[in-house]
Symmetry: C2
Subunit: 476 residues, 2 copies
């Protein structure tokens, strides 16, 4: 049987399993503390699920809340009220300036050829930040590619065409975030790559594992010196139809019409509230999520869930400290960031406004991976800081980034953690019309609040602060 065990160990090596033996023993002590704290918080919260009530309020009052929109301003007001009702102190708006992009009224992709499908519509959503097409639309043949390398190799065919980036998210990945990471550059950079190859527009297969007619939007980037071309996400079914026509040797010609536009930047705000520390009020444990959401659906998982998690955690912690008649050792600061989706301007404004305090930010925690049942954490720190952080987390942990908003603190040596809910269904909803409160389970959402509250409690209460991390580049 030796052969089997060798095969077995080779398998382990190949799969790069986390080396669990390096975790300190005390992780188990903290695991037990987390369990107990969560249980205590949840016993109070589960009967009424206040976090889910918060999510519904936000999505009713500001279903569409892309930064710079009237909905985003209503979301800011919701956040301020929710923090005040949760009993936080020092509730305030901290200003930032945000871009303003509007989808406009026209958003159409129409088949010209194959002739037998002429006039049929394929569901799309303009990518956030896209330039419009001419008012009469833009008609061109389609070149489909599955990588930037393929596009470069076929650049001669790309001139004057609409380039479809058709690589699916890889279903074989255990974690859909890995699959997303392996495909999303098509959305972020497809417009630039298409233009550099001489293309006139970019279409991108939607970033989802669902096979349906629902397109999923998201941000694109343009690049200085490369002409901006219009870009839109196509539903997965739409991308497969186009691919099937091309595979069958048919000419595919489409007309794209987008009326989106970028307006002047406008003022907006992050919403901040605190549970002030007593012994070391200058040391900050930051809990973050983002208020803005794409302008389709209601941003329930992305990131209404994170906002609701914070409001729920605030209620749990405020109540706990009041009942025990104590204050935390350190300050716990709650921040609802503006403009995560298309600029990160809120996060950058927070960093700039609090620059002098950052050396005393002992931990930043973000919830921006949806409202499903928590499975663990994503930790981002280095050296002794990472070792101590793993111990404090007391449970399953990946080495992904903590979250986009708090990522701007990495360069300042702040240890970062992201809540890691069950990711299997997240991209079914992400950035689409399907992302509504009915897609979030009230009890699972409440568990997320309890996970965040317990971690913030431990980080704010333990004797010594977490060791600083080395400064390091941002990652989401």
């Amino acid at each position: 049987m030796r052969k089997t065990w060798l095969l077995f160990l080779a398998l382990c090596a190949a799969c790069a399993a986390p080396d669990l033996s390096t975790l300190p023993r005390d992780e188990r002590f903290f695991a037990s503390l987390h369990h107990s704290l969560r249980a205590a918080f949840l016993a109070e919260a589960l009967p009424t699920c206040p976090a889910y009530q918060g999510l519904r309020e936000l999505c009713e009052q500001a279903p569409l809340r892309l930064a710079g929109s009237p909905g985003a301003e209503r979301a800011v007001e919701w956040g301020r009220g929710a923090f005040e009702r949760a009993g936080l102190a020092n509730v305030r708006l901290e200003p930032c300036t945000v871009p303003r992009w509007e989808r406009g009224e026209v958003e159409e992709l129409t088949v010209v050829e194959p002739a037998e499908h002429a006039g049929e519509r394929i569901p799309i959503l303009a990518l956030g930040g896209s330039v419009p097409t001419p008012a009469e639309g833009l008609e061109a043949d389609v070149l489909a590619v599955t990588s930037f390398e393929e596009l470069q190799a076929r650049a001669a065919e790309a001139a004057g065409r609409i380039v479809l980036f058709a690589r699916p998210m890889d279903r074989a990945q255990l974690d859909p975030f890995e699959a997303y990471g392996g495909a999303v550059s098509q959305r972020s950079n497809g417009a630039v790559e298409a233009a550099q190859a001489g293309g006139v527009a970019a279409l991108v297969r939607s970033m989802t594992l669902a096979q349906d007619d629902e397109p999923h939007t998201g941000a694109l980037r343009y690049q200085e010196g490369v002409p901006p071309v219009p870009a839109a996400a196509v539903s997965t079914n739409g991308a497969e139809r186009i691919g099937a026509w091309l595979s069958a040797g048919k000419r595919v010609r489409l007309r794209l019409a987008l009326a989106c536009r970028t307006l002047a930047d406008v003022p907006s705000a992050n919403v901040v509230g605190e549970i002030p520390g007593r012994e070391r009020p200058g040391e900050v444990v930051l809990l973050g999520a983002h208020l803005d959401a794409w302008d389709v659906g209601q941003g329930a998982h992305d990131d209404g869930a994170g906002c609701a998690h914070l409001v729920g955690a605030a209620r749990m912690l405020v109540r706990h400290f009041r009942q025990a008649d104590i204050q935390p050792r350190r300050t716990i600061r709650f921040v609802l960031f503006m403009n995560e989706e298309n600029g990160l301007r809120g996060a950058l404004a927070y960093r700039d406004a609090h620059l002098a305090e950052l050396p005393q930010h002992v931990l930043a925690i973000e919830s921006d991976r949806g409202g499903f049942m928590p499975l663990g954490w994503a930790a981002d720190a280095t050296g002794a800081s990472l070792t101590a952080l793993r111990q404090l987390l007391g449970g399953p942990e990946t080495t992904r980034g903590g979250g986009a908003d708090i990522s701007v603190l990495a360069e300042h040596g702040v240890p970062l953690v992201g809540l890691y809910p069950n990711p299997q269904r997240y991209f079914d909803f992400h950035h689409s019309r399907k992302d509504v409160p009915a897609a979030v389970d009230a009890r699972e959402l409440e568990h997320g609040s309890a996970w965040l509250a317990a971690l913030a409690y431990l980080a704010a209460m333990q004797e010594d602060p977490l060791p600083r991390s080395e400064p390091r580049p941002r990652r989401r």
Copy 2:
């Protein structure tokens, strides 16, 4: 700050957190093995999700498959075919005799008083095994109680009445299975308790945390010497309406009509298949789930998911052993049990038919808690067996029972394990019309198969068998 930490430790004690420090160090080694095995299995399975395909086949071919019904026989045929297509050896049917209960065509609860609601219907489902009412129905005033103790104290009021058992599942419980365990005796024993107090029928608030109009059925027990009275589950909304009328001091009078019936026992079967062991073929690692389901919905989570888990795990393991050109050290036996829901006759027949082999059943594993994302395991063993089992499981584990079917092996000293998926939404679907394949996520289901396959692999391959447990009473 000492005060806070004391409060803290008191909190831990109060919440009875698992004492993680007692787990052996080697748990981490096994955690790493589980992780690697699952990753290898899933990389093959996730692109096509064969377990979910199996679930859909089962639910299409045999949506209604209560033991003794024609649907149950179609489910047996599906199981045999699915095991054969998965590449198992020695696929066979093992006979058992099962009860046959039919819901019948009439199932009505009609308001007589309050007069302003006369004629309105309240949604119900007869409990499995219930006797019928007279053909013209049964009309009586209602007494609502929240416990058997309250019923006994108010026995004078119960005579001639319909007794409504109205205690909700406790939302404050972190784990809905705890909440279920705290309420389900009303369904199991309510008819007997009602009859003993002189009542003429029993109504039970549905066992669910959902607040809606969907009743959830399940089995009841009658007791020798106590007259059997008809019993039905009322939707949670229905139970609350009746409760509100009574609280307002109104007389509540209802007419119950049930046409259900119990027929003579009929022959049926468990479906069995194997991956034969090479070195120790007589030692058995058993993987079980149950084929039968209630006669509403399609039994997708309960327990179509478990059947699909087994078929998926069988494919993963058969493929793995073929590719490696080896056989497992021990035999891995897959069993789809019949009649878990209302008799456990399949499990008992298995036990009786394999009595001589039971001392060599090294581990029995069941999946009967739905198709959601696995969070851990439920372990049921004693002493050194439990210690070794925890090590082998390599991860989060509760001390609940392994599952109803394998529970009959507890008296024979077999260590038992149940897969423990995320339980938060399970009772939204359980035993109701809502339990359909659309409520199960394909990727989450596949993760469950991989968890089972990895555990069966480790138990079948490790050098020494798990130590025997002490014989102990059954628990689910």
